[in-house]
């Protein structure tokens, strides 16, 4: 494997792990949401790195498609967070806990 491909894959793994940790550890919905975006972009980076490795353009096209998917998710997610925020001034996940276990 070319070294640039390896580096990109390692970077994407680091980004993905950071995203997962952000979702699991942080309690602010916006930060958690950013974590998810980080995970999605890590996946796109992996697609592009593999596209270089396999010398196929498909990977870049697939990354573009998933960017559109991520954009749709952002639209919905922000709307949901705003609608929660309108009813309560604070947006902290620990405060959003009237449903339990």
């Amino acid at each position: 494997m070319e070294s640039i491909v390896t580096y990109s894959l390692v970077l994407s793994a680091v980004l993905f792990t950071m995203g997962v940790l952000a979702v699991l550890v942080r309690r602010n919905p916006l930060i958690m949401f950013m974590g998810i975006e980080l995970m999605l972009n890590a996946a796109n980076l992996a697609f592009i790195a593999f596209a270089r490795h396999l010398d196929k353009l498909d990977g870049q096209v697939i990354a573009l498609i998933f960017m559109a998917v991520a954009a749709a998710e952002v639209a919905i997610g922000l709307a949901i967070i705003v609608s929660i925020y309108r009813f309560r001034r604070d947006v902290d996940v620990d405060a959003v806990n009237s449903l339990r276990g």
Binding site: S12, F16, G19, V23, P29, M32, F33, I36, M39, L40, A42, A43, N44, A46, F47, A49, F50, H53, L54, K56, D58, G59, I62, I65, F66, V69, A72, E73, I76, G77, A79, I80, I81, S83, I84, F87, V96, N97, S98, L99, G101
Partner: protein, 494 residues
């Protein structure tokens, strides 16, 4: 394959086209009618569903039809799932207007979102590449995130929407990252292509990582045990018709495509995912059952029971033989009918401020509403898997598939879990038939009783009654003459 692109037999897309068009039309009509024509919108929607059903019947893909260079391939299996999705959508439409009005919800985008989600469910079993599968799963999920939080005045519902969104998006990210590794090691995302171009066994580390991430993503979407935490909250918080739609529809579509991904794309890697799913099945069945034992809320009980049922269904995935395909599909339909029926009764009896029914509320229901109580008993028996109901046949088929594949230990665990589940399903029946009606202590429920006469359960209005009747008939017919469906399932399995 190169750059050739063939649209293929686009006529196979007609039913989904009708549903998507209906969704757009409903948004327009809602604006024209100024958001007040709740019932009319639902009626228009029902007409569209029937038209789509006729289109599906006319263009039934007896010979599999490829569309868009094979990204979608319509066959009998996909058509049967599409029919079932249409039926589920129709039942949800019957339930919705009365419930939406009672909960004081507004807006026609509710119906449009239902339709968009249903179009994704119909496309999902036809998808043949991981890209189209992930996009279809998004198409199913995105409208449901909004629908789960649709009852905005209720903190529960807002929370449900938010949690569903967060964990759903989390799961999608896992799936996409998994797909990246699968593409990187095999150079293709077509299911048939993956099976053909696997790397040599010593270079499979990245591929297995991708497979694992994909399984985690599917685990979230199908609510398997370590990834199930969102289910009870989302099921309880969502408006009840939406819960019914999710429980029956999402499970059906996602399990159908899960089966396809594993059996068409990943069969050479079976030893790995079988092991993973084996473990998930055991944890899911046991945990779902244990947590269901002490639930007081009927919706929450059904949520945990849905986790348990997902565990049973994984038995079929682990078996992954010819019997498993029709068994999983039959089980999903049987489960869907029972769960829609029970949730219709929950919707009918729900108190305005909570959109939920507690088991203590059911006391004395047998005396006041004998028919409804009988129907709920029937649904509970079907969920247990009691003979003469659809659930029994589904369980027999599923367990037989696991037996034939040689998973005896898993089978025994499933049977033990079935016996444990009898306890909490019968608790519902016991509350209706045996427990006395007095001492109606309802600690978990707010004092205001919106519209129910004398604190008892409100009578079941006709829309709910229709849905309950249809579900009960389906449960009984599938239980008494399962051949009627099994013939089709065995002809059109893939």
């Amino acid at each position: 394959m190169g750059v050739s692109f063939a649209a293929g037999k686009v006529s196979a897309l007609l039913p989904m086209g009708v549903i998507v068009l209906a969704a757009l039309l409903l948004v327009l009509l809602d604006v024209l009618w100024r958001g007040r024509a709740n019932r009319r919108l639902a009626a228009m929607g029902a007409v569209a569903v029937i038209v789509a059903g006729i289109a599906q019947l006319v263009y039934f893909p007896r010979i599999p039809a490829q569309v868009f260079s094979g990204a979608l391939k319509f066959d009998g299996f996909a058509a049967i799932v599409a029919f079932a999705v249409l039926a589920i959508l129709l039942l949800t439409l019957i339930l919705s207007p009365a419930h939406v009005a009672r909960m004081g919800l507004r807006g026609g985008e509710y119906y449009a979102l239902l339709f968009l989600s249903a179009s994704g469910m119909m496309l999902l079993p036809a998808a043949r590449g991981l890209v189209s599968i992930i996009i279809c799963i998004e198409l199913v999920s995105l409208p449901l995130y909004v629908l789960a939080g649709y009852n905005r005045r209720l903190a529960f519902s807002r929370e449900a929407g938010f949690k569903y969104f967060l964990l759903g998006a989390f799961a999608s990210a896992f799936m996409i990252y998994g797909a990246a590794f699968i593409w990187g090691t095999t150079g293709t995302l077509w299911l048939s292509g993956i099976a053909e171009s696997l790397p040599s066994p010593e270079n499979r580390a990245l591929l297995l990582l991708g497979l694992g991430l994909l399984l985690v993503g599917f685990g979230f979407k199908t609510a398997l045990a370590p990834f199930h935490a969102w289910v009870p909250d989302v099921y309880e918080g969502s408006p009840t018709p939406v819960t019914a739609f999710m429980a029956a529809g999402v499970k059906l579509a996602v399990f159908a495509v899960f089966l396809r991904v594993l059996m068409e794309g990943m069969m050479p890697l079976a030893e790995f995912w079988r092991l993973g799913l084996y473990v998930l099945a055991v944890i899911t069945m046991c945990l779902g059952n244990l947590l269901a034992l002490h639930q007081m809320s009927l919706k929450r009980l059904l949520a945990y029971s849905s986790i348990t049922h997902a565990g049973y269904l994984v038995l079929g995935l682990v078996a992954a033989n010819a019997e498993a395909i029709s068994a999983v599909l039959f089980y999903l339909l049987a489960y869907g009918a029972a769960v829609i029926g029970s949730l219709a009764l929950v919707a009918a009896w729900a108190v305005r401020g909570t959109d939920d029914v507690y088991i203590s509320d059911l006391r004395g229901a047998a005396e006041r509403q004998p028919m409804a109580a009988l129907a709920l008993t029937l649904f509970m028996l079907s969920l247990i898997g009691f003979p003469i109901t659809a659930g029994f046949i589904g369980k027999v088929l599923l367990f037989y598939a696991a037996y034939k594949a040689g998973y005896i230990a898993l089978l025994i665990i499933a049977i033990i879990n079935t016996m444990v589940s009898v306890y909490y399903y019968l608790r519902v029946v016991q509350a209706m038939y045996i427990l006395p009606q007095e001492e109606r202590a309802k600690p978990a429920e707010p004092a205001k009783s919106g519209g129910d006469a004398g604190g008892a359960l409100s009578p079941v209005a006709w829309p709910y009654l229709t849905v309950v009747l249809v579900s009960a008939v389906v449960v009984l017919v599938l239980g008494l003459v399962p051949r009627s469906l099994l013939v089709w399932l065995s002809i059109y399995s893939f």
